[in-house]
Symmetry: C2
Subunit: 252 residues, 2 copies
Amino acid sequence: MNHSNGKVFLVGAGPGAADLITVRGMKLLQQADIVFHDALIDPQMLEFCIQAILIPVGKRCGRHSTAQAFINKRLIDASQKHQIIVRLKGGDPMIFGRADEEISALESAGIDVEVVPGITAALAASASLKQSLTLRGVSRSVAFFTHVKAENQESAVLPEADTLVIYMGRSESEMIAKKLLDQGKPEDTPVQIIEGISTKHERKLSLTLKEMHEGAALTWFNQDSPALLLVGAVFRNRLQDTGILTNRRLYG
Amino acid sequence: MNHSNGKVFLVGAGPGAADLITVRGMKLLQQADIVFHDALIDPQMLEFCIQAILIPVGKRCGRHSTAQAFINKRLIDASQKHQIIVRLKGGDPMIFGRADEEISALESAGIDVEVVPGITAALAASASLKQSLTLRGVSRSVAFFTHVKAENQESAVLPEADTLVIYMGRSESEMIAKKLLDQGKPEDTPVQIIEGISTKHERKLSLTLKEMHEGAALTWFNQDSPALLLVGAVFRNRLQDTGILTNRRLYG
């Protein structure tokens, strides 16, 4: 077991915009000796840590990813040489990331780890839509999930909640809609799709569950941006306000 | 309809610690003319806006709350007199708050509104526990919910997801456990309870669903702090690491 004074901070970068990191996260970037960052991190955020060694790792929409074991190894190595090591992860580190593997590897090597939360994409999407994910009398619960198809290709059970947010669901939009319809969700349940949330590439699409099942989102997606699917009756109020339910509309 | 140049920002303060607000939220506080803040906001966070008029409103664990209609009215009035109005809300504004009512009231009055997301308590709890809410092979979904008993006293249906986080569930811990057991969750499902997350009053309790059903949490709660209940198999790894499952332990 190695011992050193280096400490690793798993920091949530938030949804994309450089100023949606927390103040604590920003201060750690400013003090960091070395920063291992996801490939999708906004270069403007990296200006907080111009003094640090920058190492791009991790995912870029499925392509060009660094193997997790190699990232773990590099974090452990860095803790032998540096005091403040930041692992900057898109969104929140504890939702749909692989933080557990990094934390376990570091703790097994006797290295101190701290986690700094980040704004997860669902909350940034909700803010952008100006529609809360829970609403008295309409939605008392919200669930986040991902990957309807598991690694073993067995189809996963979707969670049951009033509002649903699907991460990384772009390639499965029709199947997700089919499953929700099979579960008994009404055909006119509103869906909001948001790409590139909080970045200059942010785009939104409003449609119904029936339309998503029919493939309405497929030609709209931009393969270079992560997409979030939000499903639930809470999105009806705002849709009615803007007439989107009768005239499906792109806005971005 | 009133017209003015004032803009209202609904800003998430995050879970408690002053430096867990976003950089964008901090900058808005620094520029604000007037800040309407929840009563539970850390005074240290309000030091970001010493130039602003400070108006405490909102909830303090059920006591001493300002009526929502009155808050809406004051926000509208403030937009006639000021340029930058911040409504600072604990956690994220769009989860279990009443942001919709504020947004609707302001938009109906022709006032520009923007929402700045905040770290919701569940993510701060996950960071503190160093245990992600989703985990490959264990949990592919996480649901947040609140108020098992509705206003009309009808008992609500709990969402079904691999990991569950219950907000404001302190007074309902036994009933929540009973419902989850009735739904088929195993008796040894690990539960983590966190009070005062990210503040100097942070305390944690580890127990099983069976123990929570038997009332094990009741004498532990501190009525002055908000509490979060986290339930799911993801918490087993860390419990086994520390031997908590066999020896229930308080740590804080």
